[in-house]
Amino acid sequence: MSVRDEIFEIRNLDVSFELNRGASRVVRDVDLNIHREETLGIVGESGSGKSMLSSSLLNAVVEPGVCSGEVTYYPQDGDPISVLELSESELKRFRWEEVAMVFQGAMSSLNPVMRVRAHFRETLQDHNRDIPAGLERARELLESVYLDPDRVMDAYPHELSGGMKQRALIALSLILEPEVLVMDEPTAALDLLMQRSIVALLDDLQEEHDLTIVFITHDLPLLTKLADRLTVMYAFGIIENGTVDELLYNSSHPYTRALLAATPDLNVPVDEMHAIAGSKPDPVDRIEGCSYHPRCPIADEHCRSSEPPMATVNGTHESACFYHEKAREAVPLRGDSKQEGAVHE
């Protein structure tokens, strides 16, 4: 993180879906800054709004979802771009040239009737790039994700394994040299070994291509290896921000602490792992006060009636909890007693 300026600035972002039983607000009033060339990990349980938040970076929230608020992209040079206000044709250029995305279900992300080469070629062609030079670059990219370009370029998707498809897709996402790579659970369907190798690969690629990576997962241990900063989402909003170390050793929101305590670890006896009691709120419900108050051990009248603002804990570390100073004692982590981060292997 040599340059500490913002590449994305999200303000008051809302994403909602109209359902028969009312509007389902799956992202609620989110503010977030993404720094240039950092790896930001977004973590949260299923259905907490992570994917919707990341899709809105490309204004790609699936129909019939509606995005409102501001998503501003700051290119290396040139004027800031307001992503949600781009026209259809501007959006086509913006996508993949500035921000590329690899998302859940990479297994089926390639057109089954086209060779891998054709995927590269059409992407280059529709973005008016030099095709021979681009295909040469594609070969280099495939090599850098440890694939044999001769074999993979001529292969159909069904001839590749899941891990190979995933890596080919990562290569495809970098073909237009984007500034930002959004990865929405890219490793969810892969085995552990493949997950680790892709994470290592991303580290290399980031250095090589000066990428900003936004990595979305519910796999907290995986993020700690990869990310510079973490953002924790709960119930459609962001509840804590900070560097990996700040969040791991000094998390100041009861939910983050509970999430850490719930992380499975083979070295810890089962009775020391704690599931979080209760269940997450329905996206249609309006939540009064702090979204976590029904499940929070230290919630009081204040938490039930008003929504806690993002408060600075120290430096870059922010937490949306009135009692962030008390959270540490209220929700102890197993690592606290052993003076060793249980999650940080």
């Binding site: 993949w96 057109n111 089954p112």
Partner: protein, 340 residues
């Protein structure tokens, strides 16, 4: 291996043809009376009508052999061998009893006309259904979608020959826009001239239209396929990649949605001739279908067997071609054949 797949398909095609020829041979034998007994009767009655007095059994057997390629005085296996070899080696399908012309001549005279209407009917039917289906899927749940669904289900439930009769009633008899039968007007001179070709087209419009109703049911399939493809991950990624809309519509949605329809199309080829028999009868369109229909009426067995063999050959060849090209359309098919 690709060659393995080819060889397998080719073998299947040959086997089907051999089986058909064998079946037609069996049918000759299964005819009322004995294999050729009824034919002898037919010839006898013709000769009696012509005033012939002497009946020579040898001459009768020769005549039967000439008409059917089946030599009644030989043992069964010899009969079969000769029947088979004359069809395969000499392309001799026998001689029509009533027209007294070689069956092959009769059929090949008329095949271009049948091909003309059935090929256009399939092309029109399937292109329309692909187009309508795709538009319905893109405008899913719109008014167009629901109205066309109802209309298509209605058309699907009405047999194509009813459609044909209705077409004749409205467009030929009531409006007199099109002729209601025949394949060309007798008032124009045959040849490479505009009135002649115009007449051919005018005569073909109604049969083609009513036959294309058969393929139109594919629109609902196409709609279903397209809706499924529209929800696929690779479509979302294609949009995220900022690809052109036209490319997404053709290469992504179109191609993947048409794939399953190709099989339906192949099966449709087989249905074309069977429907031609009825459609050509309704429109008194002198193609192979009408020829076959008349052959049934007059019990012209050699002509019937000949058309059976020719129909099967055309169908088998069409399916073989479709099989070969399937691999180009769907790369997963040839790979799948390896595993067998």
């Amino acid at each position: 291996m690709a060659t393995n797949y080819l060889a397998k398909r080719f073998g299947q095609a040959i086997l089907t043809l051999v089986a058909t020829i064998a079946l037609s041979f069996v049918l000759y034998h299964a005819m009322p009376g004995s294999p050729t007994e009824s034919l002898k009767n037919v010839i006898l009655s013709q000769q009696a009508a012509a005033g012939g007095s002497t009946v020579n059994i040898e001459r009768l057997n020769r005549l039967v052999a000439l008409y059917t390629n089946v030599q009644p005085d030989q043992p069964l296996y010899v009969q079969f061998y000769q029947y088979f070899s004359s069809i395969i080696l000499e392309q001799d399908l026998g001689t029509s009893i009533y027209e007294n012309k070689p069956v092959t001549t009769l059929i090949f005279e008329r095949i271009p006309w049948s091909m003309f209407i059935s090929v256009y009917a399939m092309v029109v039917g399937y292109s329309l259904s692909v187009l309508i289906g795709a538009v319905m899927a893109f405008k899913e749940k719109s008014r167009f979608d629901s109205v066309s669904s109802v209309v298509l289900i209605g058309l699907n439930s009405v047999p194509y020959y009813i459609v044909g009769i209705l077409l004749i009633y409205f467009f030929a008899i009531q409006m007199s826009w099109f002729p209601y039968g025949g394949r060309v007007s007798s008032s124009v001179t045959a040849g490479f001239n505009v009135p002649f070709m115009r007449s051919i087209v005018m005569h073909a419009v109604l049969p083609i239209f009513s036959m294309s109703m058969l393929g139109l049911g594919g629109a609902l399939t196409m709609r279903g396929n397209s809706v499924r493809v529209l929800g696929e991950d690779y479509l979302r990624v294609a949009k995220l990649r900022g690809l052109r809309g036209s490319r997404i519509a053709t290469q992504y949605v179109g191609r993947n949605a048409i794939l399953p329809m190709y099989t339906q199309f192949m099966i449709g080829i087989a249905g074309v001739f069977s429907s031609a028999v009825i459609v050509e009868q309704i429109f008194s369109y002198p193609g192979v279908g009408l020829l076959m229909y008349n052959a049934i009426q007059t019990q012209d067995y050699p002509l019937l067997m000949g058309s059976l063999i020719i129909f099967t050959t055309v169908t088998v060849v069409a399916i073989f071609i479709a099989d070969l090209t399937y691999g180009f359309i769907d790369p997963r098919i040839s790979a799948g054949a390896d595993n067998e």
